[in-house]
Structure formats: structure tokens, C-alpha cells
Symmetry: C2
Subunit: 201 residues, 2 copies
DNA sequence: TCATAAAGTGAATGTATATTCATATAATAA
DNA sequence: TTATTATATGAATATACATTCACTTTATGA
């Protein structure tokens, strides 16, 4: 399923390749995959239409490459930030914060990741299943030290992904009446994760 | 932005109109908006290509109509099910369950709703903003009776929508290794909403 | 500097598909 | 019945756009 792209070898080639990726990323952000044409991409990159096919066998192969890139980049960013936190609770908080920061700084990630649901379903499944697996691994070690409650960790991973994704969406699209800061929404999320939603009597 | 569709008046017209909607719904489910052609829809509905344009001025107008339909249907279903629950906690639990049941019974809703992110951004915003507002209204009354914690309710609404949407996604796409029942995932969600994620020492 | 490979070109091609339209049939109301 | 309106047809149209290809230019290393 994954189409093979041709990596450039020379300095010039690498520059062109990079220009194409950056142009596509920006256009996918603004207009989505379907409304972005190969001609748009090559024009924005400042190269001829045919140049596109020097590196990418098809439009979708560029998309797949971009998604894989983003997927690695975001994992790395989160792993980096939580690695020196001690408790699972602090790792969780930092991970949520890192995800939201990444999302706000790279708002196109939603366009690229979510659109894979319609463009390449296998890629979509893969993305979230492996994200979930990584999450579960972390949660399992926290379960061993009794840091977290003994619940279905796979479901918990989807709960946590849902929370961060939807809150991130709100931030990026500025949904609702009042804009929020990352800090304030992280506080709200952590309140729920710390104490639940309902009042104790 | 909302294109005006022409509603049928006669018995025959109504039947055709309905056939077109049902056919489109099924095809959008299977293949998504872009991979579904108007010809596919009319063929599945058993009418000529031109008939489509008797009722719908464009392909997107049919999509908008469908999304509006689903949006109303799901709200009604949830409102119906939670209305006789007393506590906010029970309303929440029942609402989450109703959403997941609806999603599993109508798995195409994700296709239709999420794809609006790429097809008609305004529709997407509208859908989640009004869903959020409705949520906040319910939570506000629970806040007055001190049933829930005093946190940013708008953010909480996105937290809850994120949880249900992502857990629903897991159920529908059968993500992960082990399939789950609606009951079991609702229990896990309620555990987190009742007690938070972390162990109390 | 010459040979070979890599990179780049852009006009031409082919296909897919949303929409139109002139026309036909069926229903309805007067 | 007849006039009018609603519904239905499907071939024709028009356009958008991914991809190809024959060719040129540039880089590299022997």
C-alpha cells in the first residue's frame, strides 16, 4: 500500500524535495487534500509540474510521507518532554501539554492526520493504534506501581487521546466564545483526571 | 452557504427523494464523500442521473442535508434517554451510553460528521459548537446544585465530547486487539469521571 | 573535459465526473 | 377533458486535474 518515493541525492535535489513537502504541507493545511492540486503544490514550490513526479509517484505518496513525518515528530516531542518527569501523573500532565503545544504550533496536523480517515483508512488505524499501544505501555508500568486505578488501560488510552484531540481542536479552531490558554485547559483536564468530574459529598 | 434543496410534494417525489438520501448515506459510509459520485448515488437509488438535480442543486447540498438530519437525530436520541434520569451523574452516564449506541448502530455518522471538517468547515464548527453549548447548559444547572466540580465548563464539554467520540471510534473501527462491549467501556469512562485516573493514597 | 546520471521542464494526454438541457411522462386540479 | 405543474430521463457538455513523456539542463566523478 505504501508507495515508494524517490529520495534525492544531490544538494539541489534535496532542496527541491523539501520545497515540495513544505508547499504541500501548507496547502493541505489551508485547503485539505482534495482541494489541493499537484499544480498548486508545484507552483507554490516554484518548480515545474513534472518535477513533482521525479520524487513522488503520485499525490497520495506525498501525503503518506507527510503523515509519517508528522507522526514521528509528535511522538518524539512528547517522549522528550515527559522523560524526566517522575510520577505518572506528571508525565500525563506534561504529555497533554506537549501535545497541545505541538497542535497549536502545527495546526495542520489535524488536517493531515484526520483526513487519513478518508484518504487511507489503514494509515489512520495505524496511527491511532500505535499511539494507543505506546500509551498503554506507559500506563501499564504505572499500574504496577499502583499509581493509577485498575481499569481497562486500552480504553483509558482512547479516553486520553480523545480528550487531548478535542481540546486541541477547540484551541486551534477557536471553537466557542472565549479563547483559552494552554495552561488553563491543562488545569481543567488535570482536575478531571485528578478528582473526576463530580463533587464529592 | 447553505444551498437550498427542493423538497418533493407528491407521493412519488417523496419516495425518490428518500431513495436518493438513503443511497447517498450508504455510499458515503462505505467510500466517503469524494469517492462517491453522483452517478453512484443515482444508480444505487435506481433513478436517472438528471433526477438528482430535480431535488438537489449540487452534490454538497445533499451532504449538508444529511449532516443536518443526523445532527438532529442524535441530539433527539440522547435528550430522550437522559430526560428521566435525576442526577447529573446518571444523565452523563446515560448520555455517553446513548451516544455510543447511536454510533455503533449508525457507524456512518463519523464519516459524515468528521468529513465536514474538509468539505464544509463552517458546518463542522457549527456542529461541535452547538453540541458544546447544549452540553454546557446542562452542566451549568448541575453546577448550581453543586453536583459537579467548579471548573471551566466549556472545556469540560470538549473533554466529554472527545472521550465519547474517540471511544466510539475505537468501537466502530474495532481499533486495538480486544473488542469491547458498550457496557464495559462506559464503566471505564464512568470510573474516570467518578474518581479520576490516579490512585488515591 | 567528457560521459553518465540526476534533476528539471511544461505542453499534451486522458480520464473522471459534476452539471445541464431538451424532452418525455405522470400527476393533479379546474 | 384539458391545462398546468411536478417528476423523470440520459445523452451531451464542460471542466478540472493527475499523470506522462520527449526533451533540456545541471551536476558529478573519473
Amino acid at each position: 500500500m505504501l508507495e515508494k518515493i524517490k529520495l534525492p541525492t544531490t544538494r539541489n535535489g534535496k532542496a527541491t524535495f523539501h520545497l515540495l513537502l513544505r508547499a504541500a504541507e501548507l496547502l493541505f493545511l489551508e485547503n485539505g487534500y482534495h482541494k489541493t492540486t499537484v499544480a498548486d503544490i508545484t507552483q507554490k514550490a516554484g518548480v515545474a509540474a513534472g518535477t513533482f513526479y521525479v520524487y513522488f509517484p503520485s499525490k497520495i505518496s506525498l501525503y503518506q510521507h507527510l503523515l509519517t513525518d508528522i507522526s514521528h515528530s509528535i511522538r518524539k516531542e512528547i517522549a522528550e518532554k515527559i522523560k524526566d518527569k517522575d510520577s505518572r501523573r506528571d508525565k500525563e500532565k506534561e504529555g497533554i501539554k506537549a501535545f497541545l503545544e505541538y497542535a497549536v504550533k502545527n495546526p495542520h496536523m489535524y488536517n493531515i492526520i484526520w483526513e487519513s480517515f478518508y484518504i487511507d483508512r489503514a494509515l489512520f488505524r495505524d496511527y491511532y493504534e500505535s499511539f494507543s499501544r505506546r500509551y498503554v505501555r506507559g500506563l501499564e508500568s504505572a499500574l504496577k506501581t499502583a499509581e493509577i486505578a485498575d481499569v481497562d488501560l486500552e480504553v483509558v488510552s482512547y479516553i486520553l487521546m480523545g480528550v487531548t484531540n478535542f481540546v486541541g481542536l477547540k484551541l486551534i479552531l477557536d471553537l466557542g466564545d472565549t479563547p483559552k490558554t494552554i495552561e488553563s485547559v491543562v488545569d481543567t483536564i488535570m482536575h478531571v483526571l485528578d478528582h473526576g468530574l463530580f463533587s464529592k459529598k
